[in-house]
Structure formats: C-alpha cells, structure tokens
Symmetry: C2
Subunit: 164 residues, 2 copies
C-alpha cells in the first residue's frame, strides 16, 4: 500500500463527511484499487524491465503494438495503445530518435502514416518481451490461479461498457 491508512479507515472518514448521502463503497473500492494497481504496475515496470532500455511505458506499448501489427497505421496504434493521436505523434518522434521505428506515408491514402520497426526495434522486442512477460507473471502471482481469468474478464467488461 502506498498510503498509511487502511481502506476501512478511509471509508469511515468519507462516511463522516457525507453521512447524509448514500454511497456505494464497493464501487469506490473497485475504481480506487484499479488506479492504485495500474499505477503501481506501470511504475514497477518502468523501473525494472524498461529502465535498461530507456523506454517509457507508453513507448514500450507503442513499440509492442507496432511489432505485432506492423506495418501499422498510426490510428490503429493509438487506439490499441489507448492514447490520443496527439500523444502518439510525440512518442513516435521519440522512437524514431532512438532508432527503433520509422514513419512512412501511405501510398494508397496520403493522409495516413504507416509505422514499421527498424532492425534495432525488432532486436529489442525479441529480447525485451519475454522478460516483460516474466514480470507480468510475477505481478499476477498473488491472484489465485483460478481467479485470473475472472479478473481479466471483469476488467474487460468495464472497458467495454465505457467505450462501447
């Protein structure tokens, strides 16, 4: 836990502040823990597996998506990486500066930009991704094996509901 306060302590304080209101503490606990977990995992990955390559979390995700779907259109990448087009522009510039990926104009549609990995990008991902997955296993380890699919399903359901 980041903070020094327990969940029940927080809930009781909130209840005091809003004693006249009916609040759904279970929903609160879900979103609250969702962000703590996402933030903790992201920082952990950036400080361990990704640190040696000098990649930010987002840079890695963009690289990964490109690696899987290449040649990939930027709009695809942005959607798959859950970032805006504006953000992707900056991250792609970073990846180009690092010599890992490159942009090229689409021949069919002059508006589109196509992204491919350079040799250094391929080499990096082939080394990095297995390590990354090992850390993913570690991260998920405290969740009982029989619970992991349910966890992924619940998270996917939340995303689908919002974005659907």
């Amino acid at each position: 836990m980041t903070g020094s306060h327990t969940l029940t302590e927080t809930e009781s304080r909130v209840a005091n502040r809003l004693s006249h209101m009916t609040l759904d503490f279970e929903a609160m606990a879900v979103t609250s823990n969702l962000f703590r977990a996402a933030s903790a995992v992201r920082n952990h990955f950036e400080r361990t597996v990704l640190a040696e390559s000098g990649l930010s979390w987002t840079a890695f995700v963009v690289l990964w998506v490109t690696w899987i779907w290449e040649p990939a259109e930027t709009r695809e990448i942005a959607a798959e990486a859950s970032i805006s087009k504006a953000t992707l522009t900056g991250v792609l510039t970073t990846l180009e500066k690092m010599g890992l990926a490159k942009r090229s104009r689409s021949a069919e549609d002059g508006r589109l930009v196509i992204v491919t990995l350079l040799p250094a990008g391929h080499k990096l991902m082939e080394k990095l991704f297995p390590e990354f997955n090992k850390h993913e296993v570690e991260v998920v380890e405290p969740v009982a094996k029989g619970q992991r699919r349910a966890l992924a399903d619940s998270l996917r359901a939340i995303t689908a509901k919002i974005e659907g």
Copy 2:
C-alpha cells in the same frame, strides 16, 4: 475495445512472433486489461464528471485525499494519490491557482508543508463527490454484484505485492 482486434487475434499474432517461447497469456491478459480499464475509466471521468469543474483526474484525487485527511502533509497526499512528490508540487500549484486549496508551513517541523482546503474546495467536493460516486457505480455495473469484492481484492493484492 479501443482497437479493432480481438484478444485471441492478438494472442495468435504474439504466438507467431514468439513461437519458440513459452508465454503466460493469462498474465498478459490481466495486465493488458488492467491498463485498458484504468485508462478508459480515467478518460471517461475526465470527460464527464470532472470536465465541468475543469479538474484533471490527478487534481481531483489530490483534492479528494486532502478533503478526507485535512490538514494533510504533502508526503501523505503523494503516497495516497500514488504520485511522486515532484508531481504533487505542480498539482498543488494548480489547485492554489484555482482557489481550491492552500499550502502552509508546519510549525512543528519546518520541512513539512501542510495542505488544507479553501471554502471553494469544500463546496466543490461536497457537490462533486456524490456525482463522482454515481459514475463509479455506473462503471462497475457490468461486473456481477458478487464479483465486485473479488475484483477489488485481486487488484489490492497486486498492488500490495509490488509495493510491499
């Protein structure tokens, strides 16, 4: 889903790229969906409940933590909000500029900075938080009622494992 590709399609592509490796797709699905969900929820909240107040997600969280624990030390707030001290400095400046909170030096320990809410901050949170919780309920709605506690517990376990 943000992207146009299904999960199995992605997995099969990854398997092709790394057919010589043993990968844990279940762990991959958990972390992947964790970030999609967190990102989707955050953006949804920023575009709906928080948009009218002009608050970013982080600014809201900092405001909320302060509201609950006030008077609060900045190190407490940073830990509770899962952000670095450096980030908090900037966010607090924003909140002060908006007239919602204010800083003051601790009398006992000259190194510490104490944060309290201004009247406008109190008023805003009393109005905003119930609305926020309503959206939290909506977000969690697609997860079966009996599954919500398990979801929160799994997420908390992941955070604890990393930060413990």
